[in-house]
């Protein structure tokens, strides 16, 4: 920490006396880097390899990855560290935390580091669906600043069990394409025993913890947008939103093809492996897991369309700490550019199941070969054309919680969808008023 203070002092001195050479004269820059994964496991090994390779290419930079647990635990650590004055230089945090991080003045935009035409080309190379969660500010589009760089990104897709489709007399190669088909298929796929107890459900959409994310698939398909791009206004009570929620509630209450009450996110893949459910909605990040554990042929498809197709994006972005020195930020930026090159983005996607963040990644040889071997890997990309930004506002977790509570109230039958969404909207309105 002494070193950090020393570095900070030097940087301040450098800017004050306009002697830009000093900071650069440092022999090495240490780059602390928070990563939202628990220690151990395949992903940490991958990151460690990247770090070693990067240091080989850039001997003046020492990369120090810190594996901080889940996303929630990582932001807790990052912001706690920020408040006590020693934050990591670079971190991967939820893309939806952008407004929170801006409001805490914890991050700086990447724009200051984008200097050359090549830099600009690189920035323009990401999927726009991902960039929606990375840029905000200004009235005109060209005033927008880029606060995050997409990296560990995902989206919601539908997994189905081909064996169970066959048993139910459905074409195992054809997933449902519309909301109506989804209900119809699910009805055929729901099995009951003699006593009327369900032994196999048609479909499952998890609703524990963060139901808003899966719900955003439904609401987008119903034509509604949950929040504006400035992150200061929500539209929870929009008729489209209510319609989407009604559809979800009906799956369980009216059609009885979806388990009643709250469906646990963590056990949903297991339910699928146990053949207790024939179709499930979950993240593309589960692809590797399902591939390893499903003892039956399965398919992956884009989510069925309501008025239109749609899904939210999800996952994490790179952020740059505001409290880091200019030299550290420069080094971090170098690393971000280095790791998002098409080859590395492709390899990352192949190894983890996350979506490649640039179209160029899908044009690489390695990716083409992988997709030819394992076609489900391309589904997530195909869905990106209709993907929308994940719900994100100022005071993000509080505003999101209002929606989560409303969704769970409707799903457990304590509130009607209309009323639940009106209450959620009123609460969000109360919180966000201060930000307009």
């Amino acid at each position: 920490m002494d070193r950090r203070e020393f570095l900070g002092g030097t940087a301040a001195l450098a800017s004050a006396t306009a002697l830009p050479g000093i900071a650069r004269a440092q022999s090495t820059t240490e780059l602390s880097f928070f990563y939202p994964v628990a220690v151990g496991g395949p992903i940490t090994k991958l990151i460690d390899t990247y770090a070693a390779d990067f240091e080989k290419d850039n001997p003046s930079i020492k990369l120090k990855p810190i594996y901080a647990g889940t996303y929630q635990e990582t932001i807790v650590k990052a912001l706690t560290a920020h408040k006590s004055g020693t934050p990591p230089v670079l971190s991967v945090l939820l893309s939806t935390d952008m407004f929170t991080l801006i409001d805490e003045e914890a991050i700086v935009p990447f724009d200051d580091f984008i200097k050359t035409d090549e830099d600009k080309k690189w920035l323009a190379g990401f999927y726009p669906g991902f960039m929606e969660n990375s840029q905000t500010g200004g009235k005109a589009p060209n005033e927008k600043k880029t606060w995050g760089i997409p990296f560990q990104r995902s989206t919601v897709v539908l997994y189905w069990n081909k064996d169970l489709f066959k048993e139910a007399g459905l074409d195992p190669e054809k997933p449902p394409k519309t909301w109506a088909e989804q209900v119809e298929f699910a009805q055929k796929l729901t099995k009951r025993d003699a006593a009327g107890n369900v032994t196999q459900w048609g479909i499952q959409i998890p609703s524990s913890g963060f139901p808003y994310w899966l719900f955003q698939g439904l609401s987008t398909q119903a034509g509604a947008i949950l929040a504006n791009a400035a992150g200061d206004k929500t539209d929870y009570a929009n008729p489209g939103v209510v319609e989407a929620l009604q559809y979800w509630v009906d799956l369980a209450q009216k059609h009885k093809v979806h388990p009643p009450g709250i469906v646990e996110w963590g056990t949903t893949p297991r339910d699928f492996f146990e053949k207790k459910v024939a179709m499930m909605w979950t993240t593309t990040g589960n692809l590797t897991n399902v591939r390893a554990n499903a003892k039956f042929p399965f398919g992956v498809a884009v989510l069925p369309a309501g008025k239109k197709p749609g899904s939210p994006t999800g996952g994490g972005n790179f952020y740059l700490s505001k409290k880091a020195t200019k030299a550290e930020q420069e080094a971090a930026f170098k690393f971000v550019r280095w790791i998002t090159t098409p080859e590395r983005a492709a390899q990352w996607s192949i190894n983890t199941g996350y979506v490649g963040v640039t179209p160029a990644a899908y044009e690489t040889e390695a990716m083409k070969k992988y997709v030819a071997d394992f076609p489900p890997a391309i589904v997530a990309r195909d869905q990106l054309s209709s993907a929308v930004a994940e719900l994100s506002t100022h005071e993000n977790q509080r505003v999101t919680k209002a929606l989560n509570d409303g969704l769970q109230a409707a799903l457990t039958g304590t509130k009607a969808p209309q009323k639940a969404m009106e209450d959620a909207q009123a609460e969000a309105e109360r919180i966000l008023k201060a930000y307009r």
Binding site: Q72, V76, L79, T80, T100, D103, E104, E105, A195, N197, V198, T199, S207, S208, G209, P259, P260, G261, I262, V263, E264, G266, T267, R270, D271, E274, K276, E395, Q397, R398, K401, N404, D405, G406, Q408, A409, L411, T412, T414
Partner: protein, 292 residues
């Protein structure tokens, strides 16, 4: 006079290391929280300013606070008497020469040894609909499938049971020790008087266990307000706040919403609540202990 002064110096010197640590890591942070509860949450552009009781007013108007408070009271009501009664029952049983006493005692104590963060995942399996353990067992009797953690009617009970399971064996150890310390002559005397076993327990054993009961009670009350690890794993406060307890809500407000001033306000209320309960109990405990 000088004697007393020396004793005071000695006394405080002995206390100094412990008091210094407590002051640094308990008292000061608690006082800081109390002060913070009268300020607004500092944001980058809006430094904290004094707002008087505004945070407290916000709290009174916050339905989730009330929900968390009532959940926590029900959770306390569910865990405290049950776990103490079970602990006593376990201790009485294990104190007798029952078959397999050592193993039984070990079984009761295992929850204390297992980390909650891991065990909560196992309980999650017990409660899982369709193929969870509970479901497999009730299924044998033809009962209908229940989504224990996914329904507002049952979720709080489900997590209360986990807490009872975790605590009872720990409290048992204290009761067991106290039971074994009761002189056997008392039992002999009572038997000569012709007292029934129930009378012996009610009139002699139970009163003698009173200090232990009060000690256990304090711990049970505090635990009822500090146990949240299993909620993080099992329900995250859902569905619709049905299992949100006060400390979990504080954690959410402080480290999810980053509203540190409001979190400090809630912390103060929680601390005040606990202080009230504990000091009433402690006064009682000291008086009872002196009777001995």
């Amino acid at each position: 006079m000088t004697n007393r002064a020396t004793a005071t110096i000695h006394g405080w010197l002995l206390l100094l290391p412990a008091m210094a640590c407590l002051a640094l890591f308990t008292h000061w942070p608690a006082v800081a929280s109390f002060i913070e509860s009268f300020y607004s949450t500092p944001k980058a552009r809006r430094p904290a300013r004094f707002i008087g009781l505004e945070n407290y007013q916000q709290m009174l108007a916050d339905p989730i606070f009330w929900k968390a408070l009532s959940n926590n009271l029900w959770f306390a009501l569910g865990t405290i008497p049950t776990s103490i009664a079970l602990a006593l029952l376990m201790a009485v049983w294990v104190n007798d020469r029952i078959a397999g006493r050592t193993l039984v005692r070990m079984a009761y104590f295992t929850p204390t040894i297992l980390p909650m963060i891991a065990v909560a995942n196992i309980w999650l399996f017990f409660y899982t609909p369709q193929y969870g353990l509970l479901e497999q067992i009730t299924g044998l009797f033809g009962a209908r499938s229940t989504n224990w953690l996914g329904s507002q009617d049952t979720a709080l009970y489900a997590i209360t049971i986990v807490a009872i399971w975790k605590e009872a064996g720990f409290f048992m150890i204290f009761y067991l020790a106290a039971l074994q310390a009761i002189p056997p002559s008392l039992g002999e005397a009572a038997a000569i008087e012709g007292a029934s076993r129930w009378t012996f327990f009610r009139r002699i054993q139970f009163p003698l266990l009173m200090p232990t009961t009060l000690f256990v009670l304090i711990n049970a009350v505090i635990n009822a307000f500090r146990m949240v690890d299993h909620i993080v794993v099992m329900t995250r406060g859902g569905p619709d706040n049905a299992t949100t307890l006060l400390l979990y809500y504080i954690y959410q407000v402080g480290f999810g919403f980053w509203d540190t001033a409001y979190a400090a306000t809630l912390t103060c209320v929680l601390l005040a609540l606990l202080a009230l309960v504990a000091f009433v109990q402690y006064g009682w405990l000291e008086r009872r202990t002196h009777y001995q």
